[in-house]
């Protein structure tokens, strides 16, 4: 009995496992019922769509684990695109220079967020709602309603090019390497343990000798830089720098992170779940689209998933709590037998 309960407990408690099972189910059911899901082209398109979301979801996971949030990420992406576009118009034709400039800009924008949150001690939700509007506004100042689209076609071809022998774009390798790096930081270093400690109790973390201010500041810088990297990919993939690039993407990212099992209150969650959630959402969207599901229904499904993602882990946590409380009661019964 006790063993069965503990098995049930660990199953219900593991949101990661649930997500991976869901992902396998979606892939399997999709491959059988929807024509095209089983084709390599489908996975190419899913990967292309998922890359920018995954890039931003990595640092966002760490930020939310500490109990903060960064809603300005899509605006950082947009502003990076427009500034790179303006530099291109001014005659900067070297791709490495443009990329480095973009990443530095992203880091700077992230630092501004970090400064307000750590030094001035303002809530990150308020700060980044502000910079969400501010950075997007600046993007419109830079390019207005113009679009810069005359990038060399070979840049786009290079950015979305496939791994030799496969249809999957090589850019996914960059995402995987970064994911491993973020995963190691979060799950295998004292810094990572510090992030969870901050999310659970910032005060206690500080007393435990963790530099909350400095760590959070650099997290926001990293988020800015990663959003800028997503912006670089965006610019290259669409060969079009516009002020409205990526608008609304922050919601897709936050939805994926929360569905991935990261608690919006901080202190709980991990990268495996988040990555599974990013892939799950991308696959589901594309498969449903292929199955002729209209956009309105798709929006409803995405919205419902977001609700599930917030409620689900909490219910799982509650269940776990219940089962733990039942265990001591179960023991005497076993003894009586």
């Amino acid at each position: 009995m006790a063993e069965r309960i503990s098995r049930l407990r660990s199953l219900v408690g593991s949101w990661d496992a649930a997500l991976l099972v869901a992902l396998v189910l979606v892939v399997a059911v999709g491959a059988v019922t929807v024509e095209g899901v089983a084709s390599p082209r489908f996975w190419r398109f899913v990967t292309l769509e998922v890359i920018p979301i995954a890039l931003i979801a990595l640092p966002m996971t760490l930020v939310i684990v500490t109990g903060e949030i960064d809603l300005s990420v899509a605006s950082v992406l947009g502003l990076t695109c427009t500034v790179m576009g303006q530099l291109w118009l001014w005659g900067v034709t070297s791709l490495p220079v443009l990329v480095v400039a973009g990443l530095l800009l992203g880091a700077l924008l992230g630092a501004v967020n970090g400064l307000f949150v750590t030094v001035f001690g303002l809530p990150s939700l308020a700060v980044t709602i502000g910079t969400l509007a501010l950075y997007r506004g600046l993007a419109y100042v830079v390019l207005g309603d113009r679009a810069v689209a005359d990038y060399p076609p070979q840049w786009t071809a290079g950015a979305i090019g496939a791994i030799p022998g496969l249809t999957i774009p090589w850019a996914i390798i960059v995402v995987v390497v970064l994911a491993v790096a973020f995963g190691i930081v979060l799950h295998a270093t004292p810094i990572g343990r510090g992030l969870y400690a901050m999310g659970n109790n910032a005060e206690a973390a500080r007393f435990a000798g963790i530099s909350v201010v400095r760590t959070k500041f650099w997290l926001f810088v990293a988020t800015g830089a990663m959003s800028a990297l997503a912006g670089v990919f965006w610019t290259l993939r669409y060969a079009s720098a516009r002020a409205d690039n990526g608008s609304g993407l922050e919601l897709a990212v936050v939805a994926a992170v929360l569905l991935g099992g990261v608690s919006i209150f901080g202190g709980r969650g991990g990268l495996i779940g988040v990555i599974a959630a990013v892939v799950l959402l991308g696959t589901l969207r594309n498969a449903l689209q292929l199955a002729y599901v209209p956009a309105n229904t798709l929006t409803i499904i995405t919205g419902s998933l977001l609700i599930v993602s917030v409620v689900g882990p909490n219910v799982a946590g509650l269940l776990r709590e219940r089962l733990r409380r039942r265990r001591p009661a179960a023991t005497p019964v076993t003894q009586a037998e």
Binding site: L11, V24, F45, A239, S247, I272, R285, Q289, N296
Partner: protein, 353 residues
């Protein structure tokens, strides 16, 4: 994470990677056979063509009129399979996702109104490689990314129609007229205004005298005030042309409640939903725009002709578009819908956009 959990997670990961690599090792999906367009031109549109309309966004009355009331009718006439799909927000990246989906579904014709003339290019090229013909309508892409563009109206056509309408409304005695435009540096507005001036220089319009052009900046309030200002400044004014949907609606709203109603004539480019009450209460006799249903209808026929190999989209190609008659492909694969469509109180209720 307990040991058992780790096993479950690993198993799931393994299953997933199997699924993905299993897919990746398959042969690429067979592309649609190329239409027999390279050789002799086919005479009729093939049956069973999959024609998909991809508007800027769904839930938009204008595109419902063009797609569901025009494109659909045409596709049913040539016995194709019609569908309308698209994002709920008008963004280029969302549109790219739908183009990718359509190309995977083996669509023969994609009729698209571009949210960005460049950003969707790559996806369109991939769809063309997969065998789809691309027709743009309402909003074009770079000519290199599509097979044909359905142009709703030419500047000459718009200018001629606006002058004709105001001339009819003002009557044979003519008089002073004014133009209420959008912004002072709007390229299309200025092109139309220049051509209206050319039109006014013709002998048959000698009695119409353009006294001024004012700018409402496509802002409802400012257009309203500019109309008010025109009435005060030019007491002999007989007519106003406002070739912008915001301007003509604001001007009509001002005139309909003023003493100038019926005395000062108004026409312009407007939408039936905005102008309905002013056409019915007599403030406006007639106004113009293109008929979106005809636009979608022509786009569908153009796509059908392309996918059947009847035309290739080069200048000088001719084809018949059902009830609309014969069309010739112009420069850069552009097909001109025709003269603007005139709305009056008799037909305005037939439209909902």
């Amino acid at each position: 994470m307990g040991a058992r959990n780790r096993v479950i997670v690993l198993a799931a990961l393994a299953a997933l990677s199997l699924a993905v690599t299993g897919c990746a090792s398959q042969e690429p999906a067979a592309t649609e056979p190329a239409p027999a367009g390279s050789g002799g031109a086919a005479a009729t549109i093939k049956e069973g063509l999959k024609v998909a309309f991809l508007p800027k966004q769904v839930n938009n009355p204008y595109f419902d009129a063009s797609d569901n009331k025009g494109g659909k009718v045409a596709v049913e006439e040539f016995k194709g399979v019609y569908s309308q799909t698209g994002p709920s927000e008008a963004s280029p990246s969302a549109q790219v996702s739908y183009i990718n989906t359509l190309s995977q579904q083996g669509t023969d014709v994609i009729v698209v109104s571009a949210n960005d003339k460049d950003a969707i290019c790559g996806a369109l090229q991939e769809a063309r490689t997969a065998g789809a013909k691309i027709v743009t309508y309402d909003s074009d892409t770079n000519p290199a990314c599509r097979d044909a563009f359905i142009n709703q109206a030419s500047p000459e056509g718009i200018a001629a129609s606006q002058i004709k309408l105001i001339s009819e409304a003002v009557g044979p005695d003519g008089g002073e007229i004014a133009i209420l435009s959008a912004t002072a540096n709007a390229t299309n507005q200025n092109a139309w205004i220049e051509m209206m001036k050319t039109e006014l220089a013709k002998p048959e319009n000698a009695k119409l005298k353009l006294v001024t052009t004012v700018y409402g900046d496509d802002d409802d309030q400012k257009s309203f005030q500019e109309t008010q200002g025109l009435m005060a400044k030019y007491p002999n004014l007989k007519g106003v042309i406002s070739p912008t949907t915001v301007g003509v609606a604001a001007a009509a709203r001002y005139l309909s409640t003023s003493e100038y109603k019926g005395k000062v004539q108004l026409t312009g480019l407007g939408t039936p939903n905005q102008m309905r009450e002013y056409v019915k209460d007599g403030t406006v006799r007639s106004f113009a725009l293109w008929n979106p249903s005809d636009l979608g209808y022509l786009a569908a026929y153009t796509g059908g002709a392309l996918a059947s190999g009847m035309i290739s989209g080069k200048e000088g190609d001719t084809f018949t578009a059902g009830k609309l008659g014969e069309y010739t492909v112009g420069k850069d694969g552009a097909v001109l819908l025709g003269d603007p469509f005139v709305f009056t109180k008799d037909n305005v209720d037939d439209f909902d956009f």
